[in-house]
Assembly symmetry: D2
Homo-oligomer: 355 residues x 4
């Protein structure tokens, strides 16, 4: 172990599957974290490549680091205190059991430990879950809902990016019984980084630039996860139609959510409920204007608000965040901080990049 | 009159309020129209400026043309057969009565002649209508719904850009009684050109680039116009909650519309209804994939489709178009062609700019 | 043959290698051409795919057309009058000899017939030319320099996109002896479509968006072609250092060219020379402001200007165009029009898409 | 004074002219600085506006802060240790003399104290300098060239954004005598934030998006500043032709610089000189690939490289940075850290935002 900059001992961090965008974002954030040190970054497809060559943005911070192939025992070999897994869905459940250890925290960024009902995996992900007993053990990495549980967690399941957005917009309203649990529409738009690093026709510049399009009609995999979270706070089954869109920008998610009020309500009442839920949160801002994705760029912030429409009888709740920061790697780091007993906001930018 | 390129006589065209984006788009389209010739383009704020200096994109086509101040009698002075008005809302009703003449067609691109119920103007536009009798006379410039009426029209009210999009997505489904007329949500995103040419904080590059944001929450002015159109085809009052968003792109609108089916339906049934409505239309394509704004860039095309979701009981109808072409100037020119007895597609690009 | 819309017989067109961006742009332009009809579009990698599925922007114009595999004899089988080849460099020279026929015009969009000196191919393209005798026969597809030769051409070599830009900026100045033929710097930036359709890391949205970067340092293949053109007008060897850059936009090239004056000169003198060269050209505009790529978007226009700097003794010449239109498919169509005796501007938009 | 988070006393910071983009960037960076606390932010045009309303990206970090009007004595009234001035050119020289005080550091971000020769101001800025004696006293805020002087500085003149870029690309090569001091061309492109916050036609989204254009032909004000810096290291007069371009992106500058070698040189030799100059620098990376602006987004990094072209006899040196970070507010903060004896990299992100 090397001493950290505060004179104590740095927490030794490994990132498995570090060559994707969530890996790069973890590396960016950890470069500014006073207590963490990345000692190994695996990436099978990029093994042997210098981090600085794949991501020149990290050249000054990680000039020494090279992606290595994943090998069993990597966590023990390197004495890791904390492991982030940024593997494709389905791959994490193969290796996480081997990484878990009494003195180590594992934070998964994939979907493998998010759904509590193992029976949902065949339906939404096309495969049986191979270690269903870990679904009960894993803690869902949304500190706004599960802070106490995270403090004891050894395995953290980081939420999907759209899921964090929609959940934080709607959860307080459902928890307070202000909106009905069915008939909910979540209409959201994301920047292109949500599609990952490997080039494909759908993330080619000329496909995406100057384009706005819906995708994943009716069956996007984040649907059951949104429903699971909202059912948890509502104490009732929740049904959501989720329509994601792709917007021509690097980062950012905005969710515009439509729900039916259970009784006459008002914009003021909705916002009071949001304020009560979030005013003590380090990263959630209740706004009086429609939130914009750009206001959260590069920071761990989430901006939320809500409106009640008397004329048509709809409640509209909105939330915006950076899909790679709060929506993925920032959220993962926030949960890791809680699980490790570090200051929750350590290494997490509170101010966004603007303009 | 000067002879046109086909050896006949060109239709003499004037554009009042030509210096805005809809004016520039009209000039672009008319440059490719075999029968029309622009003989005057007014623009008070740009009077004296060469068209080629404000819009270098038009330099080769209109090297000779200069914006002039609007003067009363401009239509008679120039012997205009066709006048497009691209003035701000409220300004058209001041001058249109003076432009109307038995042998002339006036196509307004603003909101002043769109709503049939004069009582809606104070509510949504903040002023009384000064010539309400013309609301009955004007024909709504959506050939897909009002082709026959347009053939006789002297005054055409070009629909709002969002309105064309939402109307073409939903109208056949409401006309067929497949979806309920209330509880409809129209969630749409537009490129920035919809905000017009004058610089303001909300259309500055650094505000908009890499940003996605909702605006006009609950009270956007296109709401009553969507409701009017859909009520017309549904034969019943229609209630719509409309949420526009701003996407970081120059052009394009996508409307994602949510409605409740009146009875069990299917994606197949919805699309058959769309095909029946649109297969003979020159500019509406029924797609089997979610439509993308980019597929319509610079053309007069509209792409539509629909889905039925068994799980949540929602119908989702989507439409995409170029807000300046089919959503404004192209739609206006299409209506003008119909009103003048010219080929409906003359001067209107059928293929979009891609990539 | 089918009759065209003017009552005559349409020219039968085939596009070999039609599934790339230059193929799509040809299809877009020909959709608006009164005399041409595309009867076959080959694309081996997309064989069997409907044009409308790969390019929904072409759905209304080419709903019936499907990409077919290339087969020998395609031109004879379909009775083609005109063939465009949009194949990768090196592939055209394999098939063009078989396509040539006394009554047919072949317009190649690749590099295989651009360089007159066969000895340059091994150096710049890495392979010997297999049909060097055709290099003398082919006519370079830049009507501004070779209009008379194009009128007799059976084989046309469409210039590279950067080459058209730099050539049109500098040629009149070199022809007039105003600038020296060596020490020239061409610093240019292009939109991403120049990299073609296949997805790769360098044209992925997240790589390119919000990025500006140089590439092809010192050895870009358009260098010898620029030098060939300028040497032709200068009557002397020309040496150019060419540095291309990638800008985060779909289309457009701006070339900023630096040269040394041969004697004291002035901005006025430079522009007079440009005006003399271009005022009769249908697509070249001499501007008094720095040209912008956006002013040429989607049109066949080229905007040029020049400045003389007394203080440092540099001449700066600039040109802007749309790399897919005038820089590729539009330039190719313009040459085809000349070669076929059609109106030179037929099917070529003179007004750009703005905003 | 309030204690800072490390238990010591925070340095009290004021920002004069804080409502512009450089002010917002200072606020972003200082939010992550362990030793600085912003106690006052003036902005006459935004006086009374909450920082969080003008810049929602700063809501979580500065929820309490409101822009105030500038008043004389502000630095004394608030006990400021450090003042940043983000005023328009010409305005700083009016107030800086009053801000200077034995125990305070003033860091100006405008041009008023950059040029050592007061006689250059009338030529390039159109006005006489009113406090020319301060030009000798001010230290140019480029730690890579003036670190020792900055350690003693009371008044720091932050370089222009293009100037930092071009200077860091060329200075080591001129200092080593590898390239000639005249005939230099600096061809550069910037993101739009360089144009500042107030909306104007030239920074409107629809003007800039999908556009690339040169501006400031021959006479951009950063020219004499580049020449001053390079003359300082070359020990000879330097002459530069500088051509800025506007690229459709928020942030980033790339300078591509052309110079003539004084003797035969090589890419290897050039890079060795760059490595010798920069390997000990905290924020300058010598790259083996062309630097990209995006690799520096949001960080204080500068990426440089150089090439020698045997064929044409040119040296090409390139540098990239974020114009608002290292090119303005980050550079200013780096200089302030040096002047205050704080760790030079405090508060300055070393890793960029990617993708």
């Amino acid at each position: 172990m090397v001493p950290n900059t505060l004179g104590g001992m740095a927490t030794r961090v490994g990132i498995v599957g570090a060559s994707g965008f969530t890996g790069a974002e973890l590396l960016r954030l950890i470069a500014g974290h006073p207590d963490l040190e990345v000692v190994v970054a695996t990436g099978d497809s990029q093994a042997g490549t210098a981090v600085a060559d794949l991501y020149p943005s990290l050249a000054s911070a990680y000039g020494h680091l090279t992606f290595t192939p994943y090998v069993e025992g990597v966590a023990d070999d390197h004495g890791l205190d904390l492991v982030f897994c940024g593997l494709p869905h389905g791959a994490s459940q193969e290796i996480v059991p081997g990484l878990l250890d009494g003195n180590r925290v594992v934070v998964d960024l994939g979907a493998d430990f998010r759904l509590k009902d193992a029976g949902l995996y065949p339906t939404w992900y096309g495969h049986e879950h191979t270690v269903p007993h870990l679904l009960a053990e894993s803690v869902y990495g949304l500190p706004e809902l599960f802070r106490a549980e995270l403090a004891e967690a050894k395995l953290v399941a980081t939420p999907g990016c759209y899921v964090t957005t929609a959940t934080l917009a709607l959860a307080p309203l459902l928890a307070a019984g202000l909106v009905a649990p069915t008939g909910i529409v979540v209409d959201a738009a994301s920047g292109v980084s949500g599609a990952g690093r490997p080039p494909k026709p759908t993330n080619a510049f000329n496909t995406v630039d100057e384009n706005f399009v819906a995708y994943g009609m009716l069956d996007h995999r984040h649907t059951p996860e949104i429903e699971q979270n909202l059912a948890g706070v509502a104490g009732a089954d929740v049904q959501v139609l989720f329509t994601p869109h792709l917007a021509p920008m690097n980062r950012g998610i905005l969710a515009t959510c439509y729900a039916r009020p259970t009784a006459a309500t008002s914009t003021d009442e909705l916002r009071q409920v949001l304020h009560a839920a979030y005013d003590a949160e380090p990263f959630v801002e209740v706004r009086h204007e429609p939130p914009s994705t750009k206001a959260t760029l590069g920071s761990n912030a989430v901006h939320v608000t809500a409106y009640a429409d008397d004329r048509t009888g709809w409640v509209v709740a909105l939330a915006a965040l950076d899909n790679l920061t709060k929506g993925a790697s920032g959220g993962a780091l926030q949960s890791a901080n809680v699980a490790l007993g570090l200051p929750e906001a350590a290494g997490l930018p509170v101010a966004g990049l603007y303009p």
